[in-house]
Amino acid sequence: MSNSKVVVVNYGLGNPSSVRNMLRKAGCESEVTSEPAAILAASRLLLPGVGAFDHGMQNLADLGLIDVLNEAVLVRKTPILGICLGLQLMSRRSEEGVAPGLGWLGADTVRFRFTQAADGFRVPHMGWNTVVATRQTFLRPPEADARFYFVHSYHLRFDDPGDVALMADYGGPVVAAAVRDNIAGTQFHPEKSHRFGLTLLRSFADWFPSGA
């Protein structure tokens, strides 16, 4: 059983209550907060998110959370999981907006662009997709039939493909999840992905990154 509480960062975007519901079902203690002190003291952080990139960065700035998150993640090395926009905010920038991202990951967020052959793929990429693990990480689904719920119009492009953990296919390869040091994120929504997402969140609660 997981004993470390997951602190869910509430910055007004996305659905902390859905994340909290799934964490509860997974048997993980959680707290939803935008308090800097609680975020700094957390042993495990979760950055959810649904919505526009600039709106997300603006909300984090308005709540005074950018420095706080930098301190927690980069200095204290608190394990963190970003979900969807939460993952995208960890990149340097996004084609969706003009605001700089948190820049924790060597990646940029780009819009779906399909080649002529893949024309007809609708945006957003919305629905259930399978993933392939590119290496062994805590995100690798143990279930053979694992599938996850995606809904996004932008995706991450990494400088170093070695940071990628899971790939999906939608008109071409799409990063589904990434891990680097204590920083992890999924493009899909584990909180809305039935038992597959539940397993993943449980694995996150049990994750102790080396060196963290």
Binding site: V50, P124, S193
Partner: protein
């Protein structure tokens, strides 16, 4: 590969689960919370919940019930019925609902779609479009539960909804609702060809192969079913049920 979605579409009326035929004769089919629990155990792809009494009646949006349903939903949930403002959409989304469906209020003022999309992203806005066949051919769009005709053509209307910021279109063939005689594949094709956003087809599913057809031939990204999910057998005995993943896999492209 992205799998086409198979979605139970649940109708609410005065807090109860009902099923209609051609948008009329609402028949009581059970308890909504219980239904959500069962669909959750069956690991369905998504759930659409529409309150068919919320727009005409004074009772409005059943926030408490929506919250209870959402807390049992470990898959995405769409709620529609009676949403007229960004504030109402916000309240619903805060309850743990991923997407709000907007129909009558968009017919009155399409800018609601834009305002909700600006606040929560296009992926959170499903534009719901109810369509009836005209007697002498062609289609007509209706709002207010099939009671109020719109002057705009289907293609024009869904195009305008997409331009306004809808992330998805839910198209329901009123004539097929509850008939279980197959989707209006031509209508779905018309809509899916007119927009680039995903299309959820509803109205008429009687068999699992109908679901495969509306995706394969109709170009739908998702097949929503009503009667098929709450009735069993020829006599339409009330029973919450759903095609198995293996059955769906066999028919979906």
């Amino acid at each position: 590969m992205l799998r086409p979605r198979a979605i139970p579409c649940l109708l609410l009326l005065n807090g109860r689960l009902v099923k209609t035929v051609r948008f009329e004769r609402a028949k009581y089919v059970g308890d909504p919370i219980n239904a959500v629990r069962i669909f959750n155990d069956m690991e369905v792809d998504e759930i659409v919940v529409l309150d068919i009494g919320a727009t005409p009646s004074a009772t409005g949006i059943p926030f408490d019930l929506i919250g209870e349903m959402a807390s049992e939903c470990f898959m995405p949930m769409v709620y529609g019925g009676g949403i007229r403002s960004v504030e109402e959409a916000r309240r619903i989304i805060r309850l743990g609902v991923e997407k709000v469906a907007i129909n009558s209020a968009a017919a009155a003022d399409v800018s609601l779609v834009t305002r909700v999309a600006d606040a929560f992203g296009a992926q959170a806005v499903v534009a719901s479009v109810d369509v009836r066949k005209k007697i002498f051919g062609g289609y007509r769009v209706y709002s207010h539960g099939g009671r109020r005709p719109l002057s705009t053509s289907v293609v024009e209307w869904v195009h305008r909804l997409e331009q306004a910021g809808a992330g998805e279109i839910l198209v329901t063939a009123i004539d097929r609702d509850g008939m279980m005689n197959g989707y209006d594949v031509d209508l779905v094709r018309l809509v899916s060809s007119a927009v680039r956003v995903p299309v959820i087809a509803a109205g008429g599913a009687g068999t699992v192969s109908d679901m495969g057809e509306v995706v394969g031939k109709g170009g739908a990204s998702a097949a929503a079913v009503g009667s098929l999910a709450v009735y069993q057998g020829r006599n339409r005995a009330v029973l919450i049920n759903f095609p198995t993943p293996a059955q769906l896999k066999a028919v979906m492209p």
